[in-house]
Amino acid sequence: MTPPFSILHFLLLGRGPGQGPVEVQRDARIDVIRGLALLIIFINHMPGNVLAGYTPHNFGFSDAADVFVLLAGVSATLAFGGIVEKRGLAIAGLRIGARLWTLYIAHIAMFIIVCGVVAAAVTRTQNPVYVEAINIQPFFSDTFSALVDALLLRYQPSYLDILPLYIVLLAGFPLIYCAARRSPALTLVASIALWQGAVGLGLNLPNAHAAGWFFNPFAWQVIFTCGVVLGLGVQRGVSVPRLWWLDAVALGYVLLSLVAKVSSGNPLGLAVLNDWFDSVQLGTDKTNLAWSRLMHVLALAWLAMRWLPAGGALLRPAIGRGLAAVGRHALDVFCAGTVLSILGQIVLAETGFALLPQLLYSLAGVTLLVGLGMFLTWYQSITLSGAREMRVSAQQASPSPR
């Protein structure tokens, strides 16, 4: 347990109890939650799917996207922050550059696959609603400029808007990380100021066919920055303080949000809350990130840090291992899941949203995604051990000069 003083010390100066960063074990909780978020995103991206009525966004203000971005901040810090500490900013910058390139290529590949899938579906079924479903009409009406806009990330069909956000956030990571090392508290203040300033001024990155990006990076950086600060805390060996009052506040907020989402009208009967209930029941601003979403995802994160067992406990059941495998290969699973969910939109409509095909398709999709995660884990393990053997045998074959 760390006394509150040490938390203050960390928040103000970015210092942990020890000298500098500690060796960080891979936290199974991050992989498991991220895996779960990816599977939920797959289900949610088939609107009208009966299972989408039971995913977390029905029971709280934030959804899988908020969790995904928060964990992206945490894991970027654990992955690239460690490189900054050990090998310097320049090497870390190169590694981040390579990662950005991978993300960009993945996004463009997904764009082309999705356009092809929808184009084939529209011409074969003559159903104009598929065009609407993923906002693909710019690609049909003016393919050349849509292609250029897609390459410049100025055109993002629906569901293809998370990776561009992640690309921008990761590109900003070195700056956020270096600021957070000096003072997490000041970094958070600056991040919130940027978010609120951008919302006030209507600042967003350009979108060729709308007012701006669906996920406004100036807004969503605040969740990512929170993730970076959390990751930095882990990296500096700061343990989570036992703040019972904060547990109560977080739980209270999560419950309030649950009540607001599942009821209609104002269940508390307090007249001052009428408008608030009314507005959060209709929806929350996702583009500019409503406060209610940020508070909700932070409350969930706090409760997870306090009450989810750390270490390997989550990995003991098979379901935990499956989810962790998904979470460890987030990019591959996310891309496969996006294509599968858009294909699913077509399958569900063509089968008239009958219950059985919905459940079968969802089950098949989840199985495929978990299978992909497990396959990649296995593949990685054999290629890694293969590389290690090669290195060892190479050393044995060629005796060193000394």
């Binding site: 009409q137 029941q281 209709l282 008239g352």
Partner: protein, 212 residues
């Protein structure tokens, strides 16, 4: 408008408004509507602003109703929505609240609204809730005296009329059919607006309430 001699119309909506499937932007229905209204009302400076964003939900549009619609100070707003809600079945009660919020915002700013019925689909069985969301759209619009342009009926009549052989309808390249549809849609709306404007005033076209 009476003072300025200008008629501004904002078309807010999703793919249909943005011009889904049309070969180029100037074939979207708001663009054709502007062209047709200018021809019918040569003495007035007609502007139709296209604020269609493909794939958007009614809630997304309510969020941008202030900046995209009200700040443009139009005389008339044409709101095309609900298709995404019918597909994802977000709940009729919730949708009704969202629509009311949007209508109240626009009417509160003293702007007339026209809503657009859902599009007619060759196979509605794909979306089991389609018809009930259509009904909800019309009922909610009626509550506020908002006229609904009968796009569904127009499209259905047009598609089922013997003017087109099945080969023509199915075999036609998608964009041509869609463009023809937009043109038809825009002409019908233009006729409606122009006749309402010219019949309400004495010589001088009126604005407020003219679209009802």
């Amino acid at each position: 408008m009476r003072e300025t001699g200008a008629l501004t119309i904002v078309a807010i909506g999703s793919s249909t408004t943005a011009g889904a499937g049309a070969g180029s932007d100037d074939k979207s229905y708001p663009a054709v509507l502007q062209e047709e209204l200018r021809r019918r009302l040569p003495q007035i400076n007609v502007n139709v602003v296209n604020k269609g964003v493909g794939g958007q939900s009614a809630y997304d549009m309510v969020l941008r109703m202030d900046t995209d619609v009200i700040e443009q100070k139009p005389s008339i707003v044409i709101w095309q929505t609900v298709v995404n809600e019918a597909v994802s079945d977000i709940g009729e009660e919730k949708l009704a609240k969202i629509l009311r919020k949007g209508i109240r915002k626009v009417q509160g700013a003293g702007i007339d609204m026209i809503m657009m019925d859902l599009l007619w689909l060759p196979r509605e069985g794909r979306y089991p809730h389609y018809e009930s969301y259509r009904t909800l759209l019309k009922v909610t619009a009626k509550e506020y005296g908002v006229p609904v342009f009968p796009r569904y009926g127009v499209m259905k009549e047009w598609a089922l009329s013997r003017r087109f052989t099945p080969e023509e309808l199915i075999g036609m390249r998608g964009t041509e059919l869609v463009e023809a549809g937009y043109r038809c849609l825009a002409i019908r709306i233009a006729d409606g607006i122009a006749s309402a404007l010219t019949s309400s005033g004495s010589g001088e076209p009126g604005v407020r309430g003219a679209s009802h």
